[in-house]
Amino acid sequence: MTPFDYHAPKTLRSAMRLVQEFGDDAKVLAGGHSLIPSMKLRLAAPSVVIDLGGVAGLKRVTAGNETITIGALATHYAVESHRLLPSKCSLLPETAAEIGDAQVRNRGTVGGSIAHADPAADWPATMLALDAQIDIAGPDGERAVAASDFFVDLFITDLQPGEVLTGIRIATPPENSGGAYVKMRQSASGFALAGVAAHVTLDDAGNCASVAVGVTGVAPAAYRADAVEDALVGQGIDAVADAAAHATDGVEEFQEDHHASGDYRAHLARVFAQRALSQAIERAA
């Protein structure tokens, strides 16, 4: 075992101080579902581990009339089981319930998953579809970045050295909104072979006033399917099939391995875009 120093700060301020002090030698630990396996397999060997688990206030999930907040240390289960979320934004608990198994959901964190940016993780699709703001603390203070600017490439996010993801903010969807997340599980890991999150708000005529679609598992990073959105705004459920056909427009590189070819993943993205949008519109109506 490669020895490492373990720090368990109690406040975000002291956590940030440690992150500055140790720089690249340090890894930040949240739920431990990405870092610990990497260390166990000796793929990662940080000399310092900074455990955010004891930092006060980072585990909270709130669902207000204006804003939904998810602390970086909130577990998937905390989102899945939140009392108010099914009525305020059912897409969040629906996505949480698709992650791993009960043990994983009880330990793994939303913030950790987003910061790790596995190309097949579930949360990125939903965060994109909900236009989430990612809150980040760094040496120069705090900043927020839109989900659509956050997921950059394979395991690469907009997080800079010395920065820590502190939470996620989502504007509480208005009335006449609905969302859905549809995925196929990679049969071994349960990660998304392809996953599509859709969120719509309908106008009084039942057409889409706004549409947002996030796609995961298909490209090196999760992405917003802009072409689908453009094709569906102002349209109703009858336009979904045609719009969904654009789910992989602009994708230059597809994920490919022995579980599925790029072609198949692209096909699934289009099928699931149609299913997720149809469900989202039905729920919004």
Binding site: M1, T2, M184, A188, S189, H258, H259, S261, Y264
Partner: protein, 777 residues
């Protein structure tokens, strides 16, 4: 066998409370003073020369006690044994030396090269990184076809090709059958490589007691006695100075029916170092260096009449057996050969097997061991015949079934099916399924563009292994039944379980047989210093063979108990009956004696009938006259998503006939797990080695096991056709689910895709594969 108080009752497993409370002791729970921890350096190359190994840095790491390489042990530890190498059975067989640690060359990824013993497991693991091995990589072979190709690199250089062995079986007149046929139906059938994946990986603890010259070896094994014999040979120790203990064993599925490098290596290290040593296999090690299953690919030809009558079968097959043999490697495909005729009457049959050495882990017995290959092959081919002749697959089955009056029935492969009624099981399953309604529903859904499939498997398998003459290392089994002075009963059984529930089923048999409360019975197994020699638990043999040995030993005890009771009650033995757990004269229950009262007399020794020995313990070694042949019908109903190719199992009906049933709960549990494992082969599992010989499915992130959410609620039932092979009329049920389910699912999925002109698809039936087939039409 009528249901009495215990036998036939749904009794919860007596072993479960300790298992679910964490009170059981597995190998990793064995703690000994001064214990050293062992880690194994394994080859990262599939095929490479070793030009040198430098262990200096590892030796010098603080906490490291010893580093052992192949050169250190090659003269003191014998080769890893294989029990099935008889050249009469396997003409031309090549038997390569199989060292515990590689010297000169490595032949598969994961092959052990060196072992480190250190004061903790982390230091041992760290030390592995400090061992420098000078490898010279060689081209690797990842399939039988590649092994047989012209110019292929030779894996064992004592010979000039990679042909490991051949094996053939033939019965009847195959040429005449094919001459008489209206059609020959052909199909290439592949049985992919699988990883057994027991919940508990392997593990070994070894302790040497110099004062007694005794080696104690704890191992997660299915065969403690056979392992003891082999370890004593490998380490040149007297067998009666070696004690093997199989503590709680967390599953095996056949992969622990073996002798592995680590078992001998740790035994040697404990003696050499003078300190006990422990090695617990990691999951990734398990993927690489615990035996695999299946990996046969062959061409099947069926000679058929236009009415669906099957006249004969030819199977020309290659087996990829990996780089070395493990204990039973060559024997596994022979079980395929024996069962090629399935439930059907044709007797003209021929199988010609070529086995290849490849740069992969050895194949060996994995749940079903050879029979799933036979069953999948024949059950799949029945549906191919139905497809080609435009017949209902059910009618093809019925037309060719062996009739219930034909038993005992000798097949074309010269095995004698003990008993059966295949039509009864099929009819019962069809009734549960409501078959006609399912076909109607299928037709309606197809109109809507939805693809429902109905698949059958009317399997028969070979169990209760087996007569010694047909086994590589003895097929009998042993038991001792002894009664304490206070009437508590202890059973020593040679069938050391690893999840089968013998502590419950065997106690049920004793409780009824001796008239004693089930809580007063203890079943002891797995310790070679305590239990008389036995063979072990595999091949669905524990109850049929081990249970029979116990019933015979119990009978001897009971005879003596009855004699003593008759003497004490001043009656005749033939008038003694057991009522309410008391031995009494028929019609006079008030004067009855308990087993404890009689046992006390037996041990005090003064009131015994003349000529009766004191004490109350008997042993029996049972040699079965035949195998048993369980059978049944499985029906799978699946829907294939037209847009994605995903398979949803909507219903699963299994009617299994395992003869008489001692505990329905345990039988159902075995069937549940078996179905899941067979479905794993049909839909999810595949051990893939790439062209460089790297295993790209070497973890649970990439090797898909079936999961609970993949299944509907199973609809189970039984027919009961007692076996004449043993006095209990039992057959065995450990593998039936696995054997029956793979073809049922495959046939259902292929039936679903019939509108797309699909005739056959190789396993596993992954969504992308199915989606592509649906795109092609």
């Amino acid at each position: 066998m009528p249901v009495s108080k215990s036998v036939g009752a749904r009794i919860k497993r007596r072993e479960d409370p300790r298992l679910i409370q964490g009170l059981a002791h597995y190998v990793d729970d064995i703690k000994l003073p001064n214990l050293l921890h062992v880690a194994i350096l394994r080859s990262p190359y599939a095929h490479a020369r070793i030009n040198g190994i430098n262990t200096d840095a590892a030796q010098n790491l603080s906490g490291v006690k010893s580093v052992v390489t192949g050169d250190d042990v090659k003269d003191v530890i014998g080769g890893i044994p294989c029990a099935a190498t008889d050249p009469e059975g396997f003409p031309g067989i090549k038997v390569p030396h199989h060292p515990v640690l590689a010297t000169g060359k490595v032949r598969f990824v994961g092959e052990p090269i060196a072992a480190v013993a250190a004061t903790d497991a982390y230091i041992a693991q760290d030390a592995l990184d400090l061992i420098e091995v000078d490898y010279e990589p060689l081209d690797a072979i990842n399939s039988a076809d590649a092994a047989f190709a012209d110019g292929a690199p030779v894996i064992h250089e004592d010979w000039d090709d990679n042909m490991a062995f051949t094996w053939s079986i033939a019965g009847g007149d195959v040429d005449a059958a094919f001459a008489e046929a209206d059609q020959v139906v052909s199909q290439r059938i592949d049985h992919q490589r699988l990883v057994p994946n027991p919940m508990e990986t392997r593990g070994v603890v070894a302790q040497y007691l110099p004062g007694k010259d005794q080696l104690n070896l704890w191992s997660s094994t299915q065969i403690p006695h056979l392992l003891r014999t082999q370890i004593s040979v490998m380490l040149s120790m007297a067998e009666n100075h070696v004690r093997v203990i199989a503590p709680e064993v967390g599953g095996g599925f056949g992969c622990k029916l073996n002798v592995y490098a680590e078992e001998a290596l740790l035994g040697h290290m404990a003696k050499y170092l003078g300190q006990p040593v422990k090695w617990i296999e990691g999951r990734r090690e398990n993927f690489l260096h615990t035996i695999h299953g299946r990996d046969q690919t062959g061409d099947v030809e069926l000679a058929v009449k236009n009415d669906g009558t099957i006249l004969g079968l030819k199977y020309t097959v290659s087996a990829d057996v990996g780089a070395y043999y493990q204990l039973l490697t060559p024997a596994i495909p022979t079980l395929t050969g024996l069962m090629l005729c399935g439930s059907y009457t044709f007797k003209n049959v021929e199988m010609n097997l070529k086995a290849a050495f490849t740069n992969k882990m050895a194949t060996d017995a994995y749940r079903g061991a050879g029979r799933p290959e036979a069953t999948y092959l024949i059950e799949r081919m029945i549906d191919v015949v139905a497809h080609d002749l435009d017949l209902d697959p059910l009618e093809v089955r019925r037309k060719n079934f062996i009739g219930k009056d034909a038993f005992p029935y000798e097949t074309g492969t010269a095995v004698a099916y003990d008993s059966g009624d295949y039509t009864a099981a099929l009819d019962k399953a069809l009734k549960i399924a409501d078959y006609e309604a399912l076909r109607e529903q299928q037709a309606e859904l197809r109109e809507e563009g939805r693809y429902l499939g109905i698949g059958f498997s009317t399997y028969v398998e070979i169990c209760g292994m087996g007569p010694s003459a047909a086994m590589p290392a003895g097929g009998w089994e042993s038991s001792t039944v002894r009664v304490d002075p206070t009437g508590k009963v202890t059973v020593l059984t040679g069938v050391s379980p690893h999840g089968q529930g013998q502590e419950t089923t065997f106690a049920q048999l004793i409780a009824d047989g001796l008239g004693v409360d089930i809580d007063d019975i203890r079943i002891i197994h797995g310790d070679t210093d305590t239990v008389q020699y036995g063979i072990g638990t595999f091949g669905s043999r524990a109850t049929a063979v081990g249970g029979t040995a116990m019933v015979h030993a119990m009978g001897k005890v009971k005879d003596k108990v009855v004699d003593i009771a008759a003497h004490l009650l001043e009656s005749n033995p033939q008038d003694i009956v057991i009522e309410d757990n008391k031995y009494c004269v028929r019609g006079a229950p008030e004067s009855g004696l308990t087993l404890g009262e009689i046992a006390m007399v037996a041990h005090v020794g003064v009131e015994l009938p003349e000529g009766t020995e004191p004490g109350l313990a008997e042993s029996h070694f049972f040699e079965p006259p035949n195998f048993t042949y369980p059978f049944g019908t499985h029906i799978a109903v699946v829907e294939v998503d037209a847009d994605t190719g995903e398979v949803e199992i909507q219903r699963y009906i299994a009617v299994d006939d395992c003869g008489n049933i001692i505990n329905p709960l345990i039988v159902e549990g075995q069937v549940h797990g078996g179905i899941a494992q067979g479905v794993g082969q049909a839909l999810y599992e595949e051990a893939i080695y790439d062209e460089s010989g790297q295993m790209i499915t070497g973890s649970f992130m990439d090797y898909a096991l079936p999961k609970a959410h993949n299944f509907p609620r199973f609809e189970l039932a039984n027919t009961v056709t007692p076996s004449p092979v043993n006095p209990m009329g039992v057959k065995g049920v450990g593998e039936a689910g696995t054997i029956g389910s793979t073809p049922a699912i495959a046939n259902a999925v292929i039936d679903a895709l019939k509108p797309f002109g699909v005739r056959h698809i190789d396993l596993p039936l992954r969504p992308e594969k199915l989606w592509k087939l649906m795109q092609e039409t």
